[in-house]
């Protein structure tokens, strides 16, 4: 109790010192402001009259410090998208021009922070320590500053790294029905960047607060927040915030990219973003098109994703890889927004609810997934196995469909099915457990060499774990060559396969005892 007055005194001193400094720095002057008036307020939108000099996408300030973006600039009236709580606004209230466009705080101080799309901290750790700001809407890097995607970005997921590889600077769409593990793939990719000098930005758009809290807790628990920035527009936020969230996240990522670093951005998800934009557009009375989306719905996503690239060394050499997520309904990937995003991106990872229900996780449907540019970025060791693996897997999927009808299969077909079942078992992977590159290559090489084919199916998971453990004994120089060499050399292949054979030996069925010799007559 005796310490209380002292603590109070110290906190008063701090407060008054801050006030004194602000007062000393403050120079009153005759300020010219351009003001207009609110003529109407609806969900997330305000109409404003006056402000004749207001520019497109300029920020305006409402009473209480609420900001808005000028979206529809007409001669008579301006449609403003509100970026926050608007319950206290009323017709006739004054609106002020700010003379600037929407921007966001950027910098190293954001790493490990959880912020909203305006840059306000949501993690209770005080103001973000950075003075640098960038506009949320920025032009994409010019063509001449870009280089082709040639450097891989390991996701730590065997099925993705082997069959749908992602390169740095690529835009790879993750799509699927709800609850099929889309976010899990993105989060696993973030977790796998630990120690790889890749900055990650996770942008949650219109998500439930509980789901975002779970993601943040998962990232913190696995030590991923140290290199991650989380930008959150919650489901109950104004639609304006959901609309600017991915652009703000991209500006944060671009700061790091322009500093020469590799960045991964996850937009979770752009379905909510498209819906927020549709809501705003309809309220602004813009003409609706297909599925009531406005005419520029394609453009808002293409201009966002065009900002992902790999810069040439003269421009810093950084990269921005984008993993946009889209939610489909009833597996309809030909709906408006999914097809738009499929055509904008450099490939897609499709998650099948059927595979999810069967417990084949991650539920990646290899047949419907593709990476259009990642193959060039794939490491030689993966390339050595990917072709055979994909072929064997698609043959298996085709034959498996036939075998369900109870058709009697010939021996060769049965072998293909048995092999495919083992591929599927080996590609299974638990959530939040990324697998290192050399472990993946050991498993995939063993698979394609048929080393798993003699392992009973129920023991494949355990055998795969044993093989991964054994892969940690692969000599460091071999691992180094797997990362950097242009080709998987025969001695390296042999070294890995020998290690794999030794690891799998314990899981092979015991040889059948030889039949007793017949007594001689």
């Amino acid at each position: 109790m005796s310490q209380a007055p002292g603590i109070l005194e110290a906190s008063y001193d701090r407060a008054f010192t801050g006030l004194s400094q602000a007062r000393a720095a403050f120079a009153p002057h005759l300020a010219l402001r351009e003001v207009g008036f609110i003529t109407g307020v609806s969900t997330g939108i305000a109409t404003v009259s006056g402000l004749p000099g207001l520019g497109f996408e300029e920020l305006v300030r409402f009473p209480g410090g609420l900001l808005g973006i000028a979206f529809n600039v007409d001669e008579e009236e301006v449609g403003v998208v509100l970026l926050g709580e608007y319950q206290d606004l009323h017709a006739g209230a004054e609106v002020e021009r700010t003379g600037r466009v929407m921007d966001i705080v950027v910098g190293e101080g954001l790493l490990g922070r959880v912020i909203d799309p305006l840059g306000k901290p949501l993690d209770g750790r005080g103001k973000v320590a950075s003075d640098r700001r960038l506009p949320v809407e920025r032009p994409a890097p010019p063509i001449m500053d870009r280089v082709p995607v040639v450097v891989p970005l390991q996701t730590g997921l065997k099925v993705v790294d082997a069959l749908i590889p992602v390169g740095r600077g690529q835009r790879e769409l993750i799509l699927g029905d709800r609850q099929t593990g889309k976010t899990a793939i993105a989060i696993d990719t973030i977790l796998n960047q630990r120690g790889k000098d890749v900055v990650c930005v996770y942008c949650a758009i219109g998500q439930r607060a509980a789901a975002v809290a779970k993601v943040v807790a998962n990232l913190s628990e696995k030590g991923a927040m140290a290199y991650t920035v989380v930008v959150v527009a919650e489901g109950n936020d104004a639609p304006g915030l959901a609309y600017i969230a991915p652009y703000a996240a991209t500006s944060i990522a671009e700061y790091f990219m322009e500093a020469g670093r590799d960045v991964l951005v996850v937009y979770d998800d752009l379905t909510h973003h498209a819906r927020a934009y549709r809501e705003l557009s309809l309220l602004l009375r813009r003409p609706p098109g297909r599925e009531a989306f406005p005419g520029d719905i394609f453009y808002i996503h293409s201009r966002l994703l065009e900002r992902a690239t790999h810069l040439r060394p003269e421009s810093g050499g950084g990269s921005l890889t984008a993993l946009p997520i889209i939610e489909t309904e009833a597996q309809d990937i030909s709906a408006y927004i999914p097809t738009n995003l499929i055509s904008i991106t450099d490939g897609q990872i499709y998650l099948s609810p059927t595979l999810f229900e069967l417990g084949n996780l991650p539920a990646v449907d290899v047949g419907k997934s593709v990476s259009r540019v990642g193959g060039a970025a794939q490491r030689a060791a993966y390339r050595a196995v990917a072709g055979d693996l994909k072929l064997a897997y698609s043959q298996f999927e085709e034959l498996e469909a036939f075998s369900k009808f109870g058709i009697r299969l010939d021996k060769a077909s049965q072998q293909i099915i048995d092999h495919g079942k083992r591929i599927r078992a080996c590609l299974k992977q638990s959530e939040s457990q990324p697998v290192s590159m050399h472990e993946q290559i050991a498993v995939l090489l063993a698979l394609t060499a048929g080393l798993f084919d003699r392992v009973p199916l129920e023991k494949v998971a355990a055998a795969e774990m044993a093989l991964r453990k054994a892969a940690s004994d692969i000599p460091a120089e071999v691992v180094e060559r797997l990362t950097s060499a242009d080709k998987l050399s025969d001695p390296d292949r042999k070294a890995i396969l020998d290690a794999a054979s030794r690891a799998l030996a314990a899981f092979l069925p015991a040889p059948e005892p030889a039949p007793p010799a017949k007594p001689a007559k």
Partner: protein
């Protein structure tokens, strides 16, 4: 904005152009325009007149400097403000005083959409933003 509203607004703008003489809204011309509208009723007359009223009011507001003040402001000061605003905008601007105790002290001058803030309340608000 509906198609009807757009047409009404375009018509109101044409009427407004007819109401301006020598760069300023003319009372005589406005009277003429209103008489014309009354005689030849356009489609959606209420919409047209509302838009026309807004245009005229906006234009007239540009010729009046509303001086909100918390203390005493004499006619000489109003005349000085009117003269400086006329010079700044290049058109005759009249000054009109309006007491506003919430400013605490000082003045706030509004000419159309422009607000010149030199009141204590405005400065305190700016200081609050700076803190």
């Amino acid at each position: 904005m509906s198609k009807q509203a757009k047409i009404a607004q375009q018509f109101a703008r044409q009427l407004f152009k007819l109401s301006v003489a020598d760069g300023a809204v003319s009372a005589e011309r406005v009277g003429g325009v209103l008489a014309y509208v009354e005689k030849n009723r356009p489609a959606n007359p209420v919409m047209v007149l509302r838009a026309y009223h807004r245009l005229v009011a906006t234009e007239l507001a540009k010729s009046v400097a509303v001086v909100e003040h918390a203390g005493v402001v004499d006619d000489a000061l109003l005349a000085t403000i009117a003269a400086s605003m006329s010079k700044k905008y290049g058109r005759p601007v009249a000054a009109s005083g309006r007491p506003n105790a919430s400013l605490l002290a000082g003045l706030r001058v509004r000419v159309g959409d422009d607000v010149y803030e030199s009141s204590v309340a405005g400065q305190l608000s700016a200081l609050a933003s700076a803190v």
